[in-house]
Symmetry: C2
């Protein structure tokens, strides 16, 4: 803009420039305020959608995360085209946000495409930072000492609940639907993790949180989360190399587990160092800054050793949960998570093209069958876990199994990472998201039935302040 500016009365008399001027105001530099405007407008849309969706879900007695996800679907590629991404095949002209920017700034088509790509890239990275902070927060809220108390029953339920859906999903997709190994494994892995947050909220509403069944469900869900994140790290790494050989799989499982256990052990030492550092700092951000340096460094490390950034962030959360700064940190991370995590949930919904499951189109039948198959495996694979509980006569096995059904955030993390890395095709990605939505949607009424209680949710105001967006400690 500097080179072609109209010289006016004030400056026209100047012939020689002593000061060397920038040789070239690049297209990027010229467009940078427009990219920022696009990011701001996209964030306003994402935040509005997420808040309205979460509040609507809450009022209908569903978990807020479900509302955020559905709101994402509505503003995304499936409906309003407010938040879309180049990978969907849609161009800048299809994006409502870009149309507004075009109308304000009168951009050339080439400039518009460049702005569209840049702002999509930025929103994608913000969503990835959101999921990193989500896992950091889940780590901060997961109390490992609790695991020792829930005992063998929970461990067995968790392991069966990971192995059965994973094996049935992967083998079924490969055998019945001829899906190649890597995406089949990825989709199978997405079926593994139970949502602690949703499960524990419904249990607490039913007054069953402290029952034997409730204790086993919550304990298993915590272990499930840890196993799910290890599975994700291994599977995502397989997807990167594109190779599946047994030694590599063993190496990955060992390194992911070692990474997690190693960080927890080192955390015992780092623990005191962290508090000592925080106490020495006297400027603003004395707690939050070292915590995020550690979390982002661990996330980078997870990524650098070819596992996943979120594994590192989760490990960082587990470590810092052991420090004395824990409570202060919980409070400080909350507003940051409130601002970044919804970007992840809304964009997962926005990227999901529900059109690929439109039942009126014959070419979608394969995709629909896959979605139905994943749903069945997702439910059956968890319900069976109730029957592996041993030595507990009279226990409500159905309730335990149903309690493990809702997937929630970790399933979405799979869908999001699978879609971003290109390993999942659209029907598979959408099937996973639909599976997460439906299991989360169905679990509360089914759990009430399994416990022999009326299906109607209590008509009184919601007393629980616990938020099921995240896996809580209770």
């Amino acid at each position: 803009m500097f080179l072609n500016h109209t010289m006016t009365a004030l400056s026209s008399g100047m012939a020689s420039l002593i000061v060397p001027m920038p040789l070239l105001a690049t297209v990027e530099a010229e467009n940078s305020p427009i990219v920022l405007a696009g990011v701001l407008l996209s964030l306003v849309v994402i935040y509005l959608a997420s808040k309205l969706g979460a509040e609507a879900a809450k009022r209908l007695d569903f978990p807020p995360v479900l509302g955020e996800l559905v709101a994402g679907v509505i503003v995304g590629v499936s409906a309003l085209h407010l938040i879309i991404f180049p990978e969907s095949g849609l161009s800048a002209a299809d994006s409502a946000v870009m149309t507004v920017l075009q109308w304000i700034n009168h951009l050339s088509p080439a400039a518009l495409t460049s702005v569209y790509e840049s702002q999509s890239e930025v929103i994608s990275v913000l969503a990835e930072l959101g999921v990193i902070i989500l896992l950091f927060e889940i780590g901060l809220e997961s109390d490992l000492r609790q695991l020792k108390e829930v005992g063998t029953q929970a461990v067995i339920v968790a392991c069966v609940g990971v192995v059965v859906p994973f094996a049935a999903g992967t083998v079924g997709l490969m055998m019945l639907f001829n899906v190649p190994a890597i995406p089949a494994i990825f989709a199978g892995a997405a079926l593994t993790a139970t949502s602690i947050g949703i499960t524990s909220k419904v249990l607490s509403e039913l007054g069953q949180l402290k029952s034997k069944e409730g204790q086993i469900i919550v304990g298993a869900a915590v272990i499930d989360d840890v196993l799910g994140i290890i599975v994700l790290a291994v599977v995502a790494s397989l997807a990167k190399t594109g190779e599946i050989d047994v030694s590599n799989v063993i190496y990955l499982i060992v390194s992911a587990t070692a990474f997690l256990i190693g960080s927890i052990l080192l955390g015992g030492i780092f623990n005191k160092t962290f508090v000592a550092i925080v106490e020495k700092f006297k400027t603003r951000g004395n707690v939050v800054m070292p915590a995020f340096i550690f979390a982002f460094f661990m996330a980078f490390l997870g990524s650098a050793i070819h596992l996943e950034a979120i594994l590192g962030a989760f490990a960082a959360g587990l470590v810092l949960d052991e420090t004395d700064a824990r409570n202060e940190l919980d409070e400080l991370v909350k507003p940051i998570a409130d601002l970044l995590v919804p970007i992840f949930f809304v964009t997962v919904g926005a990227r999901a093209d529900l059109g690929v499951l439109n039942p009126t189109l014959p070419e979608n039948r394969a995709g629909l069958l896959i979605a139905a198959f994943l749903m069945v495996v997702a439910i059956v694979g968890k319900v069976v876990t109730g029957w592996v509980v041993f030595g507990q006569p009279g226990i409500n096995r159905l309730a335990i199994g149903v309690g493990m059904v809702p997937r929630g955030e970790v399933g979405l993390v799979f869908a999001g990472i699978g879609s971003a890395s290109g390993v999942l095709d659209k029907p598979l990605e959408v099937s996973i998201i639909v599976m997460v939505i439906l299991t989360t949607f169905l679990a509360p009424p089914f759990l009430r039935i399994a416990f022999g209680q009326p299906v109607e949710p209590p008509s009184t105001g919601e007393p629980s302040s616990e938020e099921p967006i995240l896996a809580g400690k209770s």
Copy 2:
């Protein structure tokens, strides 16, 4: 990655694929985890630099923001090359962060350049979001009612302190150094805004905050900030169109002022609506989310009417400062600002190539002369303001003038926006940054001299918990 994966025993038998696979895993999608890794590593470097810089400055009794800026210079293009940007002319191979990524991921040169550009874009937008949140926070902390009390003296001091350095700087740059009008006006404008935070901290250390001089200085600094942001919006808009005609300038001044006053007036109405909305929300982020929807929307609006995003963010802060949710909001915004604002300060330092002022190179003489000239104007233009105070016999005019000298954050906002938009060439940009560093560095001892106190800072521990990163309410 999907197309060329090695088929193994498990998948080799599959010939036909019923499910359509993604046609093309684009370079962007393949590199997206690497871009994320680059962003994470850059953030770790930025946070480490900012924290170490701030703490070192604090211990040397300088404002922390100065330490963040100097740390940015050290990790940036002038020294360590840890945080560099393509606009500096340096390639991916020059970047230490990219070298690490290259070593981990074995990228092709083309892929490395693409990752470098993407991650630089993301860091730039994060820095811009940082300055938006900085101005939002300054707005939240500026109490407009306070202004009515400080009276005419402060208004006059503020106006003279804006007009004199602006006029002298702009005309001097054009006449003495043949700088074209637009960059000269931009640099002149960068000389206008006094830092409330730094000034009020030094005054409180000297026990002069409640003195007549102190009251005038702080009042004038608040007005100064508002005037400076209006000047920035006008000047940045001029830089965008590249044209300077009187009607356009008048239009811009009127629209920037109207935007600010209009939002404050509307804020009186919106005020109650905001609190009512916040009280209705029952899910997480019920306060922080509506606040940021409003702030980002106002920032977008400021950008959409061809002024500046930060003007909108500042106005949003002023409006929300009037609501009952103010105190809660202050607490919630703090950790978010702690995480995003340092990205802005460190990247401003990192982008500044101090090499263009290297005195041993003869071609740098013009730049050095400009830097020296800006320094003189920056100091003299503010010191003279002491002598416009009237009807106050015996008042310490020198102290008032010296108190207006430190520039701090708003000056850096000018340098950052000027550099991002390409309107400032390197010597001018670096001169502004050096001016900010030196005025901030010199003001505390000079103010002690002006008030007739010993130059040595008190040797006892720093009792003030007030943080001069931001303009505080005193």
